[in-house]
């Protein structure tokens, strides 16, 4: 941690300068907590706002004061400007930090704050407006001599006009919400049909997410990288670029893994991009922290994508390599101070990686939201050079109302290799129970040879996993390690279950058997194992190969730190039942095993097979959410792949389609219903 702290400047003695007395944070979750942390270091009092379901959330507990601004739905609470304005008045906050999302790029909000004489910790309304509108921002960028993508600079009226324009630009095209960001309201189309469909979805999503259904179309750059430049500008016309962040690893246009710096940029390209970013910032008289996003093609041509006039989710990696506290800088700038640094003061110290840990199922489209209560939660904070930005704790609920992000896990190292190694360790030591999470995917990405060599693009995931993510594929050696661990764990548990304390009636346990013959099942494969034990060390023989496993075998601990054949590994035991089922998280992926004595295994062959439910004729909700539309009724004939209904979860619309051509037997949902994961939606005949 020490290296990170000194690098990020968190431990730096802050100058006793006049700042705000009290700041209200108009956000929730990790970013609210992040802002409060810096405020505390600067000696600024903080006010949290929260919805009723968030009343015991971490950000509320951390803040000095908290005001409830409405019920759970965001448009009634975190987007409720009236309530937030009241909270400001009520608490006497002098400034507002908007975080990201919610009201962070809402010019109306910034205006209202200005009218009340409250500082907005972010850029001026003018810059928000100019950059918030994709069409206008592109025109300004062009004028500021920033490279831009060829496309249509206007609002598209309807689907047919979209098709016409797409034809003129040439496929593929990107249809996106004019007011959008964060991948919402964005669709790629490769032909006329997809353009029409994309237009429909994007405008619906744009309307529901931003209350603005205007769309625009531009050339879609195939196989690009997404690299962004962090800028920092003050109210005196000074601006700096704080290097880049490589954010190419995305799914559905949302970032998953980010790093700083990028392996791809050479100093010249970096400088060129930085300088263009700064010139754009200056062109809109930008102040505060902001991010200029670029698409970079394989020839290192870069094109302006958009400017985010707020603190980015992935800002911590920039903090790690530059040593700046961006929130502190934003607060200083909002107070009217000049920038403390010159461009030459901005270093690239080491390497930082960020993994976005989400409550989602990575086996479905690289991540469909999941919800639940964090029954156990433990961040890997006892590791050095690890930073976790989170706004939840053990017992917190991940609800359908808000973003399913659990935390941002950041690791830092002198080199990229060091940072990546640390990330492996951090992911293995991260305990999350009660919700499905994407650690399996994150753990795979950071060790994938293409990622490790830096050969990535925004299409990394679909290219590397064309048939969807399937979890870690075990090598023969890894398989043996896993089997051996399960067997050793089983024996350790068996031995413990024979230990009764102070019970004189238990017969002297027959001189602790030191040899076991076990049968371990993994992926329908059966393995006969011989296990012998000496103290805490187990020797497991599998197909003539020996695996040595030793550890403390604390059966109550969520983590299993082990030494397997001399290598240190941390596994997690997710499940251990009386019937021998053991689920282990190994190399990020959870594997279901079953360990049985030789006898139980041989008798198991007589057990009847249970017939699983036929899933092709039933459609279940893949995630919790609400039903936006149902396109069929009982008796309808549907074709394979035909849309049956649309489920919206966390503001993403997902079209549910028929798995086969059939007649609709019954419909179990209607538009407006709230459904849980696995709920029956429609039955086919």
């Amino acid at each position: 941690m020490a290296a990170y702290r000194s690098a990020a400047g968190f431990q730096r003695v802050l100058h006793a300068v006049k700042t705000f007395d009290k700041i209200l944070i108009a956000n929730r979750g990790e970013i609210a907590c992040r802002v409060i942390k810096t405020c505390k270091k600067m000696g600024i009092k903080t006010v949290a706002v929260h919805s009723d379901v968030d009343s015991s959330a971490v950000h509320v507990k951390m803040a000095d004061e908290a005001v409830c601004v409405g019920p759970a739905p965001t448009n009634k609470s975190y987007l409720n400007m009236d309530a937030i304005m009241n909270a400001i008045k009520q608490t006497g906050a002098q400034a507002v930090h908007p975080g990201y999302g919610f009201l962070s790029e809402n010019k109306e909000f910034a205006k209202r704050l200005a009218a009340e004489g409250v500082s907005f910790i972010g850029p001026d309304t003018h810059a928000i407006q100019a950059m918030g509108d994709k069409i206008e921002s592109k025109l300004i960028a062009k004028a500021a001599k920033v490279n831009t993508i060829p496309g249509y600079d206007g609002v598209v009226k309807d689907a047919e006009e979209a098709v016409k324009i797409a034809g003129e630009i040439g496929y593929p095209v990107m249809i996106k919400a004019s007011a959008g960001g964060g991948g919402k309201g964005m669709r790629i189309a490769w032909n006329d049909e997809e353009t029409r469909e994309g237009f429909r979805f994007s405008s619906q999503e744009a309307a529901s997410s931003f209350g603005d259904d205007r769309l625009l179309i531009e050339k879609f750059i195939d196989n690009p990288r997404h690299i962004e430049i962090q800028v920092l500008a003050d109210k005196h016309g000074n601006a700096l670029w704080l290097n880049e962040r490589e954010c190419s690893i995305q799914r559905r246009n949302q970032k998953v893994v980010e790093e700083a710096p990028s392996t791809f940029l050479d100093p010249d390209t970096r400088r060129a991009m930085g300088e263009q970013a700064v010139s754009l910032a200056k062109a809109v008289k930008y102040s505060s922290a902001g991010t200029v996003e670029f698409l970079v093609d394989s020839k290192k041509n870069f094109y302006f994508l958009e400017m985010n006039t707020r603190l980015q989710v992935e800002h911590p990696i920039t903090e790690c390599i530059t040593g700046l506290d961006l929130v502190q800088q934003m607060i200083r700038i909002a107070m009217g101070y000049k920038l403390q640094h010159k461009q030459s003061d901005i270093p690239i110290n080491g390497w930082a990686i960020e993994s976005r840990v989400y409550a989602e199922d990575p086996y479905k489209s690289f991540g469909l939201p999941s919800i639940g209560r964090l029954s156990q939660y433990q961040e890997p904070l006892d590791l050095h050079n690890v930073r976790v930005d989170s706004g939840i704790e053990e017992g917190s609920d991940i609800s359908i109302y808000y973003d399913p992000m659990i935390s941002k896990l950041v690791t830092y190292g002198k080199t990229r290799e060091e940072a990546l190694k640390k990330m492996e360790e951090a992911l293995d030591n991260y305990v999350i129970r009660g919700v499905t999470h994407n650690i399996p995917l994150l753990r795979e990405i950071i060790v994938h040879p293409r990622f490790v060599s830096g050969d990535i693009s925004t299409k990394f995931l679909p290219e590397v996993y064309p048939d969807g993510f399937k979890g870690h594929m075990l090598t023969a050696g890894e398989r043996r390690e896993l089997l051996a661990t399960a067997a050793a764990l089983y024996v350790a548990a068996q031995l413990r279950s024979q230990k009764f304390l102070g019970d004189l009636r238990v017969s002297v346990v027959p001189a602790e058997s030191r040899q076991w013959e076990l049968c371990v099942e993994l992926d329908k494969g059966l393995h006969m194992l011989g296990v012998s034990r000496s103290g805490n060390n187990y020797t497991v023989e599998i197909d003539g190969e020996k695996v040595e496993v030793s550890g403390e075998w604390n059966l109550a601990s969520a983590l299993l730190p082990l030494t397997i054949n001399g290598k240190h590994r941390t596994l997690q035991c997710l499940l251990r039942t009386a019937a021998g089922e053991i689920t282990l998280q190994y190399l990020g992926t959870s594997f279901k095993l079953r360990v049985l004595s030789k006898l139980a295994a041989s008798l198991s062959k007589h057990m009847p097979e249970k017939v699983p439910e036929d899933t092709s004729s039933i459609l279940r909700s893949p995630m919790p959410g609400s039903v936006v539309a149902v396109s069929v009724k009982p008796g309808d004939n549907v074709a394979e792949g035909q849309e049956i209904c649309v489920i919206e979860a966390m503001k993403m619309q997902n079209s549910m389609t028929a798995a086969k051509a059939a007649k609709v037997k019954s419909v179990h949902c209607k538009a407006g219903d709230t459904v849980g994961e696995g709920d029956l939606l429609v039955e086919l005949e």
Partner: protein, 559 residues
């Protein structure tokens, strides 16, 4: 013996069941007899009476015959049904090489209907009995052998079971019965009925002396069902076990109902609808392995303390998640299991009747290694109210714990008893009284945690201070009151204009733990995250608790 005879004659009460004994016994036996004759015809190599072999040889032959039960064909048929044989089951249930078999040479004594023939005699008859160890601890077992006359109960069969039950009671060790029997041995007539009654009597005499567990692994019908019903726990195997008084055929002829075996008396029916069985498992192997696990929670007898196993979970572990588990709005549900899992050792909770009367949660867990019984209202189901089924479920569990020195931890979030004609007509008054009775008479350590609502009579019932709760805690979210604010205000302030104001006043006064705390009805108001730590400490203190109820022949629980 007086009681013994009395019991036998009282079997007249079961008169009405006779037809069912027959009908059930007949179906499998008819099939079995055919197959058995065939097997013997094929083997025909037995002939130990022909060459006058030595005693040693005869012993060996009999032992071999006992080990094969009904023969390979019947064993294959048993396997084909997805069931293990009686001996395979015991091998899996008990520690390796720990089984000591009794009565391997016992044979049935029937001489009617050709039963005296050599090929109709099986050493050991249709049940395997003995004692063994589960994780080193003594247990008496019987395992009915479906391959011999369909596991039907003969006089000899009953006698073997009685023998081990008598000894189990004398030495103080639990009895586990693995049931797989077509019913009475019809050829033996009243001898078989007498055998059932002998077992019933012993079930009753052992009740509260040693734990008795029944695992139903095949059919169990007619009068036979009353033995499992008298034991402390009845577990079933899904898809292959049935429990009913009368089978589908008789049901059809008497009530004209069409019903399958599974619907009438399968594992699902009894674990969700009737409440006859306490839990169901996927298959034989799964059930037996789970039974081993379950056995570790139980003391060997009422003279033994609850077992303490090695525990890796720190006794003073804080559980931060509990501070946020009770929702802000008092009308919103949460899962009581989140609390239970958070507090107990290693999140391990063996739930009893998880799918029946889900508005109350009961089961076994450990605190710092020591077995405890957990009772909790489940706000997620029917707001956690007490109704007929949940009261009976809770009462039986509490009485088991009390009988076997298992401390009881009660988590209270109860809005009251469920109102309505269905409940009143069903007798919620006398059924609710059972839970009240059970908590009141219990003398084991009783620790109570009020997590939220504790309203009305239900507050009294749920192991309150007034029923001799040893340690009673309230969380800050607790509301101990006669009823919720809305109802109370309508009575206290009837006709008052400003109901909302009155409600607010009531909430301020009563919807918190203070009224109970100032009177000493709760001992402390505690931070939820410290609950585990406190309970572990309290249990240590209460381990030496001594409390006795006045002498009585037996109490009279409102049945």
């Amino acid at each position: 013996m007086a009681t013994y005879t009395l019991m036998r004659s009282s079997l007249g009460l079961l008169h009405g069941l006779k037809c069912s004994f027959k009908s059930v016994g007949q179906i499998p036996y008819g099939a079995a007899a055919g197959a058995v004759t065939q097997v013997k015809g094929l083997q025909n190599a037995r002939g130990y009476s022909v060459n006058h072999p030595s005693v040693q040889e005869r012993i060996e032959k009999k032992r071999q015959a006992a080990l094969t039960g009904g023969g390979q064909l019947r064993i294959a048929a048993q396997h084909k049904r997805g069931k293990l044989t009686a001996r395979e089951r015991l091998e899996l249930l008990l520690d390796p090489d720990s089984f000591v078999e009794y009565d391997m040479f016992v044979e049935h004594r029937c001489s009617d209907f050709g039963m005296e023939a050599d090929h109709n005699k099986y050493p050991g008859d249709s049940v395997v009995t003995g004692q063994g160890r589960i994780n080193g601890r003594l247990v008496y077992v019987f395992s009915q052998d479906f391959t011999v006359f369909g596991g039907s109960l003969s006089g000899a069969h009953a006698q073997k079971i009685c023998k081990i039950m008598d000894q189990a009671m004398m030495v103080g060790a639990p009895v586990i019965g693995l049931n797989d029997s077509g019913g009475a041995r019809i050829q033996e007539g009243v001898e078989s009925l007498a055998g059932y009654a002998d077992i019933f009597l012993r079930n009753v005499m052992s009740s509260g002396v040693v734990p008795q567990i029944s695992l139903i692994m095949g059919p169990c019908a007619g009068g036979a069902v009353y033995s499992p019903a008298l034991t402390d726990f009845t577990f079933m195997v899904k898809d292959t076990s049935y429990l009913f008084i009368t089978g589908p055929d008789v049901v059809k002829s008497v009530t004209n109902e069409d019903v399958s075996q599974e619907e009438l008396g399968g594992a699902k029916t009894h674990t969700t609808v009737s409440g006859v069985a306490h839990r169901a498992f996927e298959n034989d192997v799964d059930a037996l392995l789970n039974l081993r696990d379950f056995f570790n929670f139980l003391p060997l007898s009422n003279k033994d303390p609850a077992p303490v196993t090695e525990c890796h979970d720190p006794r003073d572990r804080l559980v931060p998640g509990l501070d946020t588990v009770v929702p802000f709005e008092s009308t919103k549900a949460y899962d009581m299991l989140d609390i239970v899992h958070g507090i107990v050792d290693e999140r391990e909770f063996f739930e009893i009747m998880p799918n029946y009367a889900k508005n109350i949660v009961v089961g076994f867990a450990r605190m710092n290694g020591r077995t405890v019984g957990i009772v909790g209202n489940q706000p997620k189901v029917a707001s956690g109210c007490l109704d007929i089924n949940s009261s009976v479920k809770g009462a039986r569990f509490v009485r088991f714990c009390d009988a076997f020195n298992i401390p009881i931890i009660t988590f209270v979030d109860v809005p009251g008893f469920l109102p309505g004609t269905a409940q009143e007509y069903g007798g919620i008054i006398r059924h609710g009284a059972k839970l009240l009775y059970a908590f009141a008479e219990a003398t084991v350590p009783k620790i109570t945690v009020i997590t939220r609502k504790a309203y009305g009579g239900a507050y009294d019932v749920m192991s309150s201070k007034h029923l001799r709760g040893d340690v009673n805690y309230a969380w800050p979210s607790a509301e101990v009151a006669v009823m919720g604010a809305k109802g109370a205000v309508q009575i206290i302030f009837r006709g008052k204009e400003n109901q909302a104001e009155a409600e607010a006043e009531y909430v301020e006064k009563f919807a918190n733990p203070f009224p109970a705390a100032v009177r000493g009805f709760v001992d402390d108001i505690i931070q939820p995250s410290t609950t585990r730590k406190r309970i572990c400490r309290d249990l240590e203190v209460l381990a030496s608790k001594k409390q006795t109820n006045p002498w009585k022949k037996h109490a009279n629980i409102p049945l």
